[in-house]
Amino acid sequence: MAKMTVARAMVEVLKSEGVEIIFGIPGAAIYPFYDALYSSDIKHVLVRTEQAAVHEASGYARTTGKVGVCVATSGPGATNLITGIATAYMDSVPIVAITGQVNSSLIGKDVFQEVDITGATAPFTKHNYLVKDPKKIVRILKEAFYIASTGRRGPVLIDVPIDVQMQEIEFEIPKEIDIPGYKPKEKGHPLQIKRAVEAIENSKRPVVCSGGGVIASGASEELRILVEKQKIPVISTLMGIGCIPTDHPYYLGMIGSHGQKEANLALRQADLLIVIGARLADRALGDTKITDNMKIIHIDIDPAEIGKNVDTNIPIVGDAKQVLSEINKRISERKDFWAYEIKAQKKVLPDDDKLHPYDVLKEISRAYNGDYIITTDVGQHQIWAAHNLYIKKPGTFITSGGLGTMGYGIPAAIGAKFGRPDKEVISITGDGSFQMLLQELATIKREQVPIKIVLFNNTRLGMVYELQKKRCTGRFIATCLDGNPDFMILAKAYGIESMRLESKEKLKEAIEIMKIHDGPFLLEVVTSPDEPTIP
């Protein structure tokens, strides 16, 4: 057993967990940890605001399947993490967030830069810790990684007072972790699986609704086998996009209030709904009412999701990959694909000489042949991307589906590129969202992260503007983004190449320029404020 400071021990545990990269901003309450980081080969990415640190860790986690790590100082550093942590919680992204805290003896006294961050984040972390006993740090960090990355994944926060960071401890990594109250259940109950198989085989119009859980558990292949064997149409939530290639003959699209018509139609006509790794929240269901003549099978690793938003006939608690492969072992083949008719009604997009966002997204899909990782922000552009981009592989469409956090896209793209430097990473954003965390252009420049940004500039908070147009008979308030900067000059200020696209003729050329450009690139697409979310 070696003697070392808690700060050193923290770095040692991170190393033993295979952490290669950390996103953060230092401060006085976390400086011992940073000092210990100095002599390690873990890369630290200095962000420009802490919220970006979590989103970057999130983009990294979602592309690598590893735990993303971010660090902040006490007080304002810690509170700046909050939106990012809540975003990760809603989308079940494994994150370990480390925060500095004021001296233990001063906790609770409202001293300089003190905040009760464990109290503040309790509702939207999977678990969190305030480390008071230096001897417990190693175990706590190990537990944090374990909790974040198993079962239904999610963010875990560890708050470490500065005096604790400086204490000396005997360093030893525990071999095993035993948390009595935490035993995620991965295998589905055999009887329930049997019932599910029967229900699927006896149904006439089954539909699979797949969510982010399918992607998180790596169950895409099992899903494909099931739906091809039983010829089941697949609809997805926003988080589930990419669970199966979007050009798969059985894929009908995204459901919900911002979903595709075919997908919603299939949901309405189904006699059996197989929900996998999805919450079926209000936005996913839209105005579809689940009726009594529709049976529901719900597969989820988190038992609390089952029966929360819709009544379930056959609940199966377990990991989607395991449960689906068990179902596949038993299930028969089916002949007819009932949803072809629905699929045939697929809407044709208007084709005129105006430059529409869907033209841009279709062209990107074509130029890259789906060979990219996409991140999006939140707004109309997010829905345009969800509907029109070709998504070939699971985990390549990264968006804030749960919390709907504007500002997510750019930092998530940075994290994604660090996670998968071999992949093209394209961030689809709007002028409103972009300006929520555009200071990350500095991180892009400093680290030379070669991501591509496609910025749909409609000088509006488009999604809300559209709502006002529909619901408030055009009483527009606070949705016009007058005062937008010239985004090309802005990019230039950060040393990032850019281009503005205004007409359809230049479309192919612009995408080609973006594609071959070596290094970060901003493509500003000038868009009409009246472009609807769903044409």
Partner: protein, 170 residues
Amino acid sequence: MKYTLSVLVENHPGVLSRVAGLFSRRGFNIDSLAVGVTEDPTISRMTIVVNGDDYIVEQVTKQLNKLIDVIKIKKLNPKEAVERELALIKVNANSQTRSDIIQITEIFRANIVDVSKETLTIEISGDEDKIEALIELLKQYGIREVVRTGLIAIERGNKVISKSKSEEDE
């Protein structure tokens, strides 16, 4: 409907606030919550009385189970459990009413634990109905103060709720 949940949790600071926070956040109604350490000092036991239908109780149980510090939850069947609450009731008493109050106290097998010139303080333990009934009777004399612990409960017979998680409780 009222349901009694017996919840084993790790005896850490912050656990109570996590549990209580969960109730308010998710919009569940708790009637009462009583906590104390168990035979194992690393584990506390909470007895939670929830008001709601089957859906609510199921959600409460599942959401509680998600908390890392929650080790085990069991829904107690009132017929197979002993349920008790402790209450201290301070009631107005003068020379005319004093003996009536003492009589009532005896009928309820409650105890008088403090006496002053103008008041009597009564200690009673029992299920909720019994305590309600006593309070109801004492109201006519003028109740000054009531303190109640909330319900605690334990299963009858040799059944115990142990730390190890088993399938049947899920």
